[in-house]
């Protein structure tokens, strides 16, 4: 019973939000705020349009590439920083400086160098994702118990093997927490980059519709992007769960397996 409730609660939350939206729109009754129902009805139109669909797929492609590249660079960097004080001391000042800068604010400069195409947008996504992934990988690697590494060394694991076979799995729960934050940030930077470099993508459709006062489409796009975020996040959490079930207590493992 409790499982059923916890499974349903996100759905209930969505439903509640839609009902609130519906009521608010009906009360306000203005053109620029369509009802939830109108927006939902517009979703198939947007997705059915070849042009729009290709735009959205473009966005997803850039996001996946940016996210993947960021993880490929940030996880090893974070792990090395966590295990070596010298590597950490070298990169820390740089990261401290980059950290508070909103990555989308770099977009104009990047566009100046790389144009308005894929390269600029993917780079911004890459930058947006990197920091939380580096930070969490760093924390995870730093917290690895030294005796665990010693045990591995006594079994004959080389330094490189210890990195891949002890530090990486031991830090994995923390790394994946960083990646989950990174995923959401990737989606945010994806849309932002397309708002700035209006050339293609989901963000582009949204703002074009806004310019043309097609408010149904605007809200339909918000629903699509929101749903994309929720689905990706849930899928990633499921994957994370499978990979690090060992870090959770027994009951949860049984539940997850069922």
């Amino acid at each position: 019973m409790r499982i059923a409730v916890s499974r349903l609660s996100p759905l209930l939350a969505c439903l509640g939000l839609l009902v609130a939206w519906q009521l608010a729109a009906m009360l306000l009754h203005t053109d620029s705020f369509p009802t939830a129902w109108q927006a939902i009805l517009t979703v198939p139109d947007v997705l059915g349009d070849r042009e729009s669909l290709l735009n959205i797929l473009d966005s997803i492609r850039r996001m996946v590439i940016g996210l993947t590249l960021a993880m490929l660079v940030s996880i090893p960097l974070g792990l090395m920083m966590g295990r070596s004080a010298r590597v950490a001391a070298f990169f820390n000042p740089l990261l401290m400086m980059v950290y508070p800068v909103p990555k989308a604010a770099l977009m104009p400069v990047i566009m100046l160098w790389l144009g308005v195409g894929d390269a600029s947008k993917t780079l911004v996504i890459f930058l947006g994702v990197s920091l939380p992934v580096i930070y969490h990988s760093f924390q995870g690697a730093k917290a690895v118990e030294e005796k665990m590494l010693w045990s591995g060394a006594a079994m004959g694991l080389s330094a490189v093997q210890r990195m891949f076979r002890i530090v990486l799995p031991a830090a994995l729960p923390e790394i994946l927490t960083g990646c989950r934050t990174g995923l959401v940030l990737a989606l945010i930077t994806m849309v932002t980059s397309e708002m700035i470099a209006r050339q293609s993508g989901a963000g582009n459709i949204l703002f074009n519709a806004m310019d043309m006062a097609q408010y149904d489409t605007v809200f339909a796009m918000i629903i699509i992007i929101g749903a994309l975020g929720i689905v990706l996040d849930a899928a990633f959490d499921k994957l994370r769960w499978r990979l690090v079930a060992w870090a959770e207590p027994r009951q949860d493992i049984l539940l997850g397996a069922s």
């Binding site: 005796k147 010693w150 045990s151 004959g156 027994r250 493992i253």
Partner: protein
């Protein structure tokens, strides 16, 4: 049958068969001192001028107050820490790092949390290139021996402290190190399991004749298990006395408890440890 007390420097010679050529000792610790840099304050001397020789196949226990450097001494032999002064040797070779010939069982267990009990115990064997099926069969036998049959697929997080300790012991025994470095391996166990594992350890030791360096706080345990008991002083750790335990083997607990010689060893060693307490009130 009296307690034979050897000064440390004489202890260093015990690998020698008198009058003949020196039998190769398994472990030689020569003038080892360990100093730790402590932030803020000046450095802290954890071990001071340790000389100890452990013959091949000997069972040697180390007793001493908390913080006297017992763990540090094991880490030095394990090759995890290099001493600030002096050298440690295994089979005559200076120790420069860890290796599968010396298997540690840490006070903190240090199990791999992402591996099941079976996965932990198999790890060293697989690393040494043993085929999966063979490694698994051997590991299952060991897991049964330490009394964890049925828990093969549990993760460390799901085990009690005592169970983790038994997994840690099995994990190290699995890859057949010739030297076992055991840091209070039975510390977290209930009296019953402790006695059982002591007997199991003695059986393994009598069968394989591994060299064992065994840290404990229990005088009983040290006397019951060991050929030699090393008593250390409070920080900075020095060797206060090395006591040869001259009791027949195989040893049986029930018989030993009634043996006057056993009791005398226990009392004498307890007195040695108590003595130390007077000269060390200041930190």
């Amino acid at each position: 049958m009296q307690v034979v007390s050897l000064r440390p420097e004489i202890g260093a010679e015990t690998g020698k068969v008198s009058g003949q050529t020196r039998a190769p000792a398994m472990i030689d610790i020569e003038s080892v001192s360990q100093r730790f840099e402590v932030s803020g304050r000046k450095s802290h001397l954890a071990l001071s001028d340790i000389n100890l020789s452990v013959a091949d196949g000997a069972f040697v226990s180390i007793l001493g107050p908390s913080g006297c450097g017992k763990s540090t001494l094991l880490y030095i032999v394990g090759g995890f820490v290099s001493p600030t002064e002096g050298v440690a040797k295994v089979k005559g070779n200076v120790i420069t790092g860890p290796g599968p010939d010396r298997g540690p069982v840490f006070q903190e267990f240090a199990l791999f949390p992402w591996k099941t009990v079976l996965g932990n115990v198999m790890y060293g064997l697989r690393q040494q290139g043993v085929k999966r099926a063979e490694a698994e069969a051997q590991s299952r036998r060991l897991i049964e021996m330490v009394g964890l049959k049925g828990y093969e697929n549990f993760y460390p997080k799901e085990l009690s402290g005592g169970m983790k300790q038994r997994v840690a012991i099995a994990r190290t025994l699995a890859y057949h190190p010739s030297v076992l470095l055991m840091d209070e391996p039975f510390g977290a166990l209930d009296a019953h399991t402790r006695t059982r594992l002591q007997n199991d350890l003695l059986n393994i030791w009598e069968r394989d004749r591994k060299t064992v360096l065994f840290v404990t706080h229990s005088v009983d345990e040290a006397v019951f298990l060991s050929d030699k008991v090393v008593v250390m002083t409070r920080s900075p750790g020095r060797i206060k006395e090395i006591v040869d335990i001259d009791l027949p083997r195989p040893r049986r607990r029930a018989e030993l408890l009634l043996d006057a010689r056993y009791q005398k060893y226990v009392v004498d060693i307890e007195r040695l440890i108590d003595d130390g307490r007077d000269d060390v009130v200041q930190p």
